[in-house]
Symmetry: C2
Subunit: 226 residues, 2 copies
Amino acid sequence: MPLDQQTDILARMSGEDREALISLGTMQRFSKGEFVFRAGAPGKHVYFLRKGRVKICQPSHTGKEVILWFCFAGEMFGLAEVAQGGGRVVHAHVCEASEVLKLSQSQFSGFLRDHPDSLHLVMQVLSCRMRTLSEVIVNLVNDDVETRIMKLILRLSARHGVHVGQDIHLDITLTHQEIADMVGTTRQTVTGMLSKLKRRGFLSLENRRIYIESPEMHAAASGPDH
Amino acid sequence: MPLDQQTDILARMSGEDREALISLGTMQRFSKGEFVFRAGAPGKHVYFLRKGRVKICQPSHTGKEVILWFCFAGEMFGLAEVAQGGGRVVHAHVCEASEVLKLSQSQFSGFLRDHPDSLHLVMQVLSCRMRTLSEVIVNLVNDDVETRIMKLILRLSARHGVHVGQDIHLDITLTHQEIADMVGTTRQTVTGMLSKLKRRGFLSLENRRIYIESPEMHAAASGPDH
DNA sequence: CCGGAAATGTCAGTTGGCCGACATACTTTC
DNA sequence: GAAAGTATGTCGGCCAACTGACATTTCCGG
């Protein structure tokens, strides 16, 4: 099990556990641009994404938004507030038409009590997210914008990349603004850096999708030795 | 229970659970400057800090270190790698003479199985840490160095502050380098910013300890409206 | 209580990346 | 298929914060 895929909790659950979970919760549909929940709302439910894509982002007083991570099919979100109490601090913003399974706090606690194997998985997911967040912090502190963008792309491709010969095809579309919100920079700078990376031959862009020339990219991202 | 104190897991456990945990583990002493574990080592143990202070920091290829958080008496560390597998990615660096309780992965799993209340506490701790890390990321992205330092001080004082009349006395000593490593800046800039904050009357410094003039400080940190 | 080490204070020079402003391209919607 | 909205590309001016270098103060072990 590659560490990158530990967050796909539905896939990792045993069949019976998954059935039990699905029968406990209720299904909801959302279309692009809607919110599953917003910062400030009370946080009494846990969600499992069956289909689609949701971004978890934290608004700040300045109006800027930081994208903490994306959730893809199979992933869980909204757990932290349920475990910890207090209201939501993040938005769950639907990127493309999605289906989510919704469980109340008590339904979920009951499920964990009855399915100890799944409980272990939940702790793994939390641990994995903590590591990813730590990684992001280290990047923000140490690396310049160019390196941060390269590392972001490599992180995403580790989980959502499709190998096409020598290259890796990133199977999701991101706007420059979204990239900027993930690495802490501005839209303009992202545009500039991407075309710089393209000129250098680290990646190519084809109708809003990213192709990574993987060997060069990995080498380049491991140390900013320009 | 203030959210700031959710991480003091030993204090929040029931007496019986705490006894059981302590009898399971083995005690170890460390003196200042030693490491409980280092990045790269295999991560097969969980630790509970009984006494002292430990900083959890992540080294990077550039040699710089980022301090992700401090652990104080009662807190747990080393969990993520145990839950998730793989080696340590962080150092656990002892700041002052400390005593830690050490449990192997299997001892800890067994404990959680037998003490479901504590299990809930563990999930709370992880959730709380995730929130703190998210908060740090948002700060890094949105705020200038001055604001980041103010918010760091307020965060620390929420958990480790002692009220002295109107003011709050921060009950720990930090070097400027350590502050720099937490907010992602340089030692020199921290020195400059602290004396600027002192001049402005937001805080005062007395033999390496920080006194916060809390009302002004809170107002100032909530929006960088200079 | 002394000497080396660590921490703090200060400064001038340099620069990465932000800001604002605008032009072009793509892509929905009715 | 025209119009409106959203995304991308490009530029010059500007400033916060980094770098490196040094002086001074405080701490701590023997």
